[in-house]
Every structure is written in structure tokens, then in C-alpha cells.
């Protein structure tokens, strides 16, 4: 029984995997994220399209989302996140932690 439930839990996200994920823009400017608050539907994979408009590199990082990626200065790069359970998932720019902060809200 437990094994069946586990199998079902393993297969559930595969359904979400099939659909083309929604693309959500995120900009880095003056070492800040814009928007600093991103609302996404829970239970779906989305594609964060991060555009670093600063001339210096930044590292998008989140312990809660389990993601880290360097975005070179002036570059545009994608990070896939989710499917997420409803909740708040803070992220930050590791190279400018004081200012570069934001949160993904899954609902």
C-alpha cells in the first residue's frame, strides 16, 4: 500500500513534466531583482528567464528552491523551478547578498 502511494507520488510530477513550462521574466538591475516577488502556480514547473542588466556577473541562488546559477553580466539565462508545493521560496544573488533578494510564492 505504501509502495503504491509512493509510486503514485513519483508519477504525479511526470504529468507536469509533459507540458511546456510557463516562462517568467526576472531582471537583475543595480544588484536588485525585479520583480522581487514572483507568484507562480503551485504544482507546475516554470522557467525563470533571468536577464542580468548589470555589467557584473551575479549568482542566482536559493536553498529553498535548491538552485544556483551564475548569470554573467549582460546575459540572459534560464532556471527551471518546480513543481512546487504552496509556500514561500526566498532567493538571493550570492555576489550581492545585501541588496539582491527576492521570493517565489507558489499558490
Amino acid at each position: 500500500m505504501t509502495r503504491l502511494a509512493l509510486l503514485a507520488a513519483l508519477c504525479l510530477p511526470l504529468a507536469a513534466f509533459a507540458a511546456d513550462p510557463a516562462e517568467i521574466p526576472l531582471t537583475i538591475k543595480n544588484h536588485r531583482f525585479e520583480p522581487a516577488e514572483i507568484r507562480i502556480p503551485a504544482g507546475q514547473k516554470v522557467k525563470l528567464m533571468i536577464h542580468n542588466q548589470d555589467s557584473t556577473p551575479e549568482e542566482f541562488e536559493s536553498h529553498e528552491l535548491n538552485r544556483e546559477k551564475v548569470i554573467p553580466g549582460g546575459a540572459k539565462s534560464a532556471v527551471f523551478i518546480g513543481p512546487l508545493q504552496p509556500g514561500k521560496y526566498p532567493f538571493f544573488g550570492e555576489f550581492n547578498e545585501a541588496t539582491a533578494r527576492g521570493v517565489v510564492i507558489a499558490e
Binding site: L10, P13, F17, P21, T56, P57, N66, F80, E94, F95
Partner: protein, 273 residues
Amino acid sequence: MFGAAIIVFRESLEAALLIGIIAAAARTLPNRNRWLWSGVGAGVAGALVVAALAGSIAEMAGGMGQEMLNAGILGLAVVMLAWHNIWMARHARAMVDGAKAIVRDVADGRRALSAIMVLVAMAVLREGSETVLFLFSLASEGESTAQVLAGGALGLVAGAVVGYTMYTGLLHVPIRWFFTVTAGLVLLLAAGMAGQMARFLIQGDILPPLANPIWDTSAWLSSSSAGGTLLHVLAGYDPRPSAMQALFYLGTMVAIGLGMYLVRAPSPARASV
């Protein structure tokens, strides 16, 4: 300056601990230091190249070049750790018996050492390229280059001290347990790296996460705490892993464990070599 020191410390910790463990595990091999330092040198050179090419790497593989590169580096490191551990399982008994015995087959020893060199280079390359980018970013933000370099050096020294402490600590382990302890540590390192590799492949949408997360222990031990960081570096601790990460972790552990079991040195009674 201290910002630079802290980040460089954090980045260098993983490579430093890995080098400390490997240096101890390989203590009976001739010319060990030369191979270790060649690995560090190759890793630093590679890190500079990767940092310089960061822009083009980011655009490769449909924007997933960085994930592919990281996964590739980690994959290669896992293979080298596996090879090292299986090789050690074969030779451990002879080394314990002869205490300071040096591997008799020089060519065989050299193969083991070249695996170690590649391994060290991969560890340094992975964390090093991020460090270079970070220091570059600080320096171009107006902080004086001297300050940035001083901070970076401070962080690096702190990382090296931790790695060296690991090394000397391991050398104090009694010889009859020594190879078991180092093999266990290397096994955990390899499994942790395989888990991280899976994470990059999921981040790049190359693999599905399956269940995500399969558990959440962040309330007990967060990954930003000192204990969580150390456990992450040593054993790949992740408070919210996906099922795919856990599969990679366990799969690597089982595969290496099985390999070690299959090639284990024969018991002294039956030993013919």
C-alpha cells in the same frame, strides 16, 4: 574585504576537504604531493579559462551550458572517486600489513595517482571558476583590487587550514581502521557529488525531479547553518532533495560499494600476491 574572504572560504571549503581526505588516503603512494599539486594547478588554470568564457558557456546547449558543464565536472569527479575507492579496496590490506608499504607495481600506482590528479583538478575547477567571477565582480564594483585580493587570500587560507586539519586528523586514525575511515569518507563524497550532479540536470530541465522534495529536514538542520554546510560538503547533505537526487545518491553508493566488495583484497590466508 571580509565579504570576499567569506565567499572564497565557502567556495574553497569543498575542494580543501576533498584534497585533505584524498591526500590522507593516498599517503602510501610515491610522489603523492607532486600529483596533488599538479591537480591543483590544472584546476586553477581551468577555473580561469571557465571564468573568462562564462558568457559563451552560458549560451551553449540552448542556455544550459553551465548546467551541462557542472554536471560533467561532477560526473568525472564521481568516476575518479569511485575508481580510487575500488583501487584502494584492492590494495588496502597490503598497505595495512606493510604499514608504510609502497605500492610495488609502479605503473599501477601511477594510474591511481593520475586519477587523483584529475579528481583534484575537477574539485578546484568547479568552485574556482565561481570564485574568480565573484572576485572579478567585486573588483569592478569599485572595491580596490588589493582589498579584494587580500580578502580572497584570507578566505583561501582559512579553507586550506580546514582541509589540512582534516588531513592531519585522519593521519591520527589507527592504521587498522584508517582505510575503512577514508573509504567511508570518499564514498560519502562521491554520493554527495552524484546528488549535486542530478540537481544541475534537473535545474537545466534535462532530467525530471520526480517527487520534489521527497522530504524536508530544513527545520532541523538548514543548509545555511555551519553544521548543514559542513555536512553538505562532506556527505552531500541537502535538506530538500528531489527523488531524482536521492536516486543518484543511493545508486552511486551501491555501485561503488559493490565494486569495492567485488575486488576486495583476498584474506591473508589465501593471499598469493
